[in-house]
């Protein structure tokens, strides 16, 4: 099964092995025809309607604004419905540095997102601490705080890179399963069990 989006040849994607691995996992478990086509419909809906949370801490956030503007126009993909309330958003683009003081807030925002929820680590600060590696107050990458689906390198990444990153996320959503065994959420549950927050029941 070749997972791709409109107008993008399958060979043009850079990391097909990863998606192929997911597809294989999906096919191995096997599904009933009816359930399978429902899954397809739901995944089509989900992967084409990913609404971001308006969340930005620094430089990358400005490139995210550029992404919404006329030049790059993320509305073409239906991503322009940026919700300010985490309850209504589908993914959060962690655009910018996450520092010690922001970590609890950030984690709480993640917990407030409604399922299915995805996280994109955008820019080198969110991936690894980036230029602030030597700092005493910067969290070195957000991977220890929330499970991350897509990484977009750059400092800051260009809007084109962000489009590519969100398209990759959309591709990942396409190989999920709504009915029966879900290959992604299980990992997420394990992650949340390993990183519990007091007073929050996931």
């Amino acid at each position: 099964m070749e997972v791709t989006t409109k107008g993008m040849p399958y060979e043009a994607w850079k990391d097909n092995e990863y998606i192929e691995k997911l597809v294989k996992e999906l096919q191995d478990s096997g599904v009933n025809v009816v359930v399978g086509s429902f899954d397809k419909l739901i995944n089509w809906g989900r992967s084409n309607s990913i609404w971001p949370l308006t969340f930005a801490t620094s430089c990358c956030g400005i490139e995210f604004v550029s992404l919404g503007a006329a030049r790059y126009d993320m509305a073409r993909f239906g991503w322009e419905v940026a919700r300010a309330s985490p309850r209504q958003a589908d993914f959060m683009m962690v655009a910018g540095t996450i520092v010690h003081r922001m970590v609890p807030v950030f984690r709480r925002l993640y917990d407030q997102l409604a399922e299915p929820k995805y996280v994109i680590a955008c820019g080198s600060c969110a991936i690894s601490g980036g230029p602030f590696k030597k700092s005493y107050h910067v969290a070195m990458g957000i991977e220890d705080i929330v499970p991350v689906d897509v990484f977009i390198p750059g400092c800051p990444p260009r809007p084109e890179a962000m489009i590519y990153g969100i398209m990759q996320l959309s591709r990942k959503i396409k190989v999920e399963k709504f009915f029966g065994g879900v290959n992604r959420q299980e990992k997420q549950e394990e992650f949340l069990k390993a990183h519990p927050v007091a007073g929050v029941n996931d």
């Binding site: 989006t5 409109k6 107008g7 419909l41 739901i42 089509w44 809906g45 989900r46 084409n48 309607s49 503007a69 006329a70 126009d73 509305a75 073409r76 993909f77 239906g78 322009e80 419905v81 919700r83 300010a84 309330s85 309850r87 209504q88 589908d90 407030q112 409604a114 399922e115 299915p116 709504f178």
Partner: protein, 358 residues
């Protein structure tokens, strides 16, 4: 002009020929209910896409164009997504009211659909206080919004709900007075009667000055009533995150989202009814040939076309003007619109009394 009531009457007599009348009526109600639901969903999806496209063009963008041809399926994808999105249950909220609020909002706009003049003979119910009923049911919506804000147990939603309460109660007054002005012109409160009264000329032309004043005020009040920009204070994104529906997720949020667009349709529909003749085609006295040509266009197209054109104006407002502040909003209503409206009412009475209309 095709009278579509011929079709409905035929259906009724066809059904009563086979089953008893009570069963026929029940079946018809059921059919209408299903039809209404479908219409409701289709219209909402269309409106969401319509607004996204229109605002994109205002902003020199393209808007959704990847999902389906020209992006037509975008809002359908959104619907599938939102239907199966998690409904977060919160601690420390009033669970019953929290769940009730979105249904109140959606029921209010659904009830209003019942009296809209969809076409010649296509009205679901036409009774003598139709327009009054419409005003009454549309004010249930504010109750839903207040409950949503209050039951969420969140300071932002509470402020949003209180703002919205103040705003909608005030602007309902203006809307009511505009309706009364036009009811005087029509001489009846029945929706069908109002449409009939415009068969020779639409009220916006025949009522000239007072009708135009009433139309402008109605559009302003209608925009405020539907909580849309520049009057979108209850959900002002830059101030209150998402206002009264901050805590809602999944389909409950979807209901608020849909209701916003359907209220937009209802307000435009009522404006079309009061000022542009509802389903009545454009008739100009004396131009019989022209009138006959106009009659060939089916009446539902007239009504929906008018409503969409008027909605376009309201969308235009939203993407052009900055937002008002709460005190300026209330000043506008109580210090400007209301006195003008009262004066306009007197003017209309005089025009009708002395027969000065066209």
């Amino acid at each position: 002009m095709q009278d579509l009531s011929v079709g409905t009457a035929w259906l009724h007599s066809f059904l009563t020929g086979y089953i008893p009348e009570w069963a026929a009526v029940t079946l018809e109600c059921l059919l209408i209910g299903v039809g209404l639901m479908l219409l409701y969903a289709v219209l909402a999806l269309f409106y969401i896409l319509f607004e996204r496209k229109v605002c994109a063009y205002f902003q020199c963008r393209l808007g959704p164009n990847r999902v389906g041809p020209w992006g037509l399926l975008q809002s359908i994808a959104d619907m599938f997504k939102i239907l199966i999105k998690e409904l977060i249950s919160l601690n420390h909220v009033d669970k019953f009211l929290f769940a009730l609020a979105p249904y109140l909002v959606i029921i209010a706009s659904m009830l209003a659909f019942a009296v809209l003049p969809w076409g010649n003979g296509l009205q679901i119910i036409d009774f003598n206080v139709g327009i009054f009923f419409l005003l009454a049911v549309s004010s249930i919506g504010v109750l839903g919004i207040l409950l949503a804000g209050w039951s969420s147990n969140n300071k932002f939603t509470l402020i949003g709900a209180l703002r919205s309460g103040a705003q909608m109660v005030s602007y309902e007054l203006s809307m009511g007075l505009c309706v009364v002005t036009m009811v005087i012109m029509a001489g009846t409160m029945s929706v069908g009667g109002i449409v009939e009264a415009q068969s020779h000329l639409w009220f916006i032309f025949s009522g000239h000055i007072p009708a135009i004043i009433a139309f402008v005020i109605f559009m302003i009040a209608g925009t405020a009533e539907t909580n849309r920009g520049p009057f979108d204070l209850p959900e002002a994104e830059s101030e209150l995150t998402a206002g009264y529906h901050t805590e809602y997720s999944g389909i409950h949020f979807g209901f608020f989202y849909l209701a916003e667009y359907l209220n937009l349709f209802i307000v435009s529909g009522v404006a079309a009814l009061l000022f542009f003749g509802g389903w009545m085609p454009l008739h100009i006295p004396g131009w019989d040939g022209f009138n006959a040509v106009m009659d060939f266009i089916p009446s539902p197209i007239w009504f929906i076309g008018k409503a969409i054109a008027l909605s376009f104006i309201i969308i235009w407002f939203k993407w052009t003007f900055p937002r008002l502040r709460i005190d300026q909003l209330l000043t506008l209503e109580w210090k400007y619109l209301l006195p003008i409206n009262l004066f306009n009412l007197v003017l209309m009475v005089m025009i009708v009394t002395f027969g000065l209309y066209l």
